[in-house]
Assembly symmetry: C2
Homo-oligomer: 311 residues x 2
């Protein structure tokens, strides 16, 4: 057991998965939960919480770990509610996909003697809510922490032990750098997927059911991405605005260069570009990231488990 009492504020996919993982691995003495909706609390009590409370303040009382698992846009409000009720020496962490905005919103509300260690589990599914969690969500996934300067090493080591106990890999990053990297590898790809699915919706009215009927491979991946939680993604784009707009701008420029090459019929440009992106994919497989998921690329002959990617 790493923490005597863990308080989960917000009881969606991430919090419920944490509860299942902590239970499965005996990492927490008591798991207390709070969510705004009584229905959510009832489900949590039934499925994975030892106890639920009717306020966030009540949930954090006596907890040695408090996890803020609410949308990024309400982190500050929750921090204001719980600040004065936190136990001295407690650790507070969050699971938001953006870090600078959370640090700015939460830090002012925390009393001295409480350790705030912002975190970002890079794991999820297209499903949300208290019924969507499962114990192995974090298995082999990165869980990034952005501890502030002067962070207590013991508090950090303990949180790290909990996270690794749930099967994740921990890395420490600077807050600003975190937000830029995730803009590239997560936020902008999501913005793009949302957009492409929106375009297909125009076309659906033109071409009836074909777009949906034949939506395998490329496009299906996009629709899966675009099915993620709308509130979470709204807050991500509102709070990581600068990095997202920077990367979106680069993307638009790059797309126009490709579009121009298609319009001009510049086969050499297209071939060279596609060859380069293929090499980048190889780099990712060599870095081992391709192996961290259920689907494994294998060298040589494909088997029926290879996931199709082009038509």
């Amino acid at each position: 057991m790493i923490y005597q009492r863990v308080a989960l504020i917000g009881l969606g996919l991430i919090a419920s998965s944490m509860a299942h993982a902590m239970r499965a691995n005996g990492l927490a003495g008591e798991i207390v939960g709070y969510a705004k909706s009584p229905e959510t609390r009832a489900v949590a009590k039934e499925l994975f919480c030892d106890r639920v409370t009717e306020s966030a303040a009540e949930a954090v009382r006596g907890a040695d770990l408090v996890v803020l698992a609410v949308p990024v846009g309400v982190m500050g409000e929750i921090a204001a509610e719980i600040g004065q009720h936190l136990a001295p020496g407690a650790t507070v962490t969050d699971v938001g996909s953006v870090k600078q905005a959370v640090v700015d919103a939460v830090t002012p509300h925390l009393p001295a003697g409480v350790h705030f260690i912002p975190g970002h589990p890079m794991a999820g599914t297209e499903y949300s809510g208290p019924r969507s969690g499962f114990a192995t969500l974090f298995q082999n996934r990165w869980w990034l922490l952005t501890p502030p300067e002067g962070c207590d090493p013991e508090a950090l080591a303990r949180l790290r032990q909990l996270i690794e106990g749930m099967g994740a890999k921990v890395d420490l990053l600077d807050v600003g750098h975190h937000d830029l990297v995730v803009a590239v590898v997560s936020h902008v790809p999501h913005a793009i997927a949302y957009t492409m699915v929106g375009v297909a919706d125009h076309m659906r009215r033109v071409s009836q059911s074909e777009v949906i009927k034949y939506s395998a491979a490329g496009f299906r991946d996009f629709t899966r991405i675009a099915a993620s939680d709308p509130v979470m993604w709204r807050d991500v784009f509102l709070t990581n605005k600068d990095a997202v707009l920077d990367i979106l701008g680069r993307f638009a420029e790059e797309l126009f260069v490709l579009q121009r090459a298609i319009r001009m019929g510049d086969g050499e440009h297209l071939h060279a570009y596609f060859t380069r992106t293929r090499a980048i994919r190889r780099g990712i497989i060599e870095a081992g990231q391709g192996l961290a998921c259920a689907w494994r690329p294998r060298p040589g002959r494909r088997t029926s488990t290879a996931r199709p990617v082009r038509w």
Copy 2:
């Protein structure tokens, strides 16, 4: 056995998978192969062809089915080479991802009495070449046919039987409509994935290895798509130019609207948009397309086999 002798012209992923599937299901008497490269021919002879030839003309002699499985850009050249050597009554099909350009390039070279039935198997992997094929590639995938007006019903029924024998589902489409639908569900998503991977490559130089290291979920799907065969994709964009430019234009407009909402901090717009795209995803799952692949979305509680899609 549906055809006595099948000639495969071009021996990459699709042709080699067809050969494996025809052998596994006893669909062809003899499988003859031709490819430009002697190395490819040697691999094909070893792995899946009964016989390989040193010219396309030689390969099609006496074949009752000829499959053009070369990049779309060389279909016309190959058709010119084989036209005079085709057996009377033979069926010719192709496996190109674009149909109007193939029809225009191939039809003029075929003698009367030969049945040309253009096709498009909507299946593939990120791998290419004669070693990449496997017998189950087409299992439960769509294989679209765009038969010309007045197409011989018997020839069509026989080709359909072969394709269904390899495990695929057949649908008939008008040529132009086919090219528009695949622009939406395949060609433009690929262009976008290529572009995003290119942008990440800029950033890799800025942020060192993090972009590759943390590239799970959203972005990893993009890199997988962007690893497809460069020659094939060059030809797709050159030959389905009009439909691709139309959809890319719509995409750019739609993306700018989203980008503006992010810049303006318009949370209502973002939330409404993301809610709508989520509903489209649900529509796709209900249409059953989500079930046709190795990964199955399941209702209710996730298990460890659910593929992560957001961070």
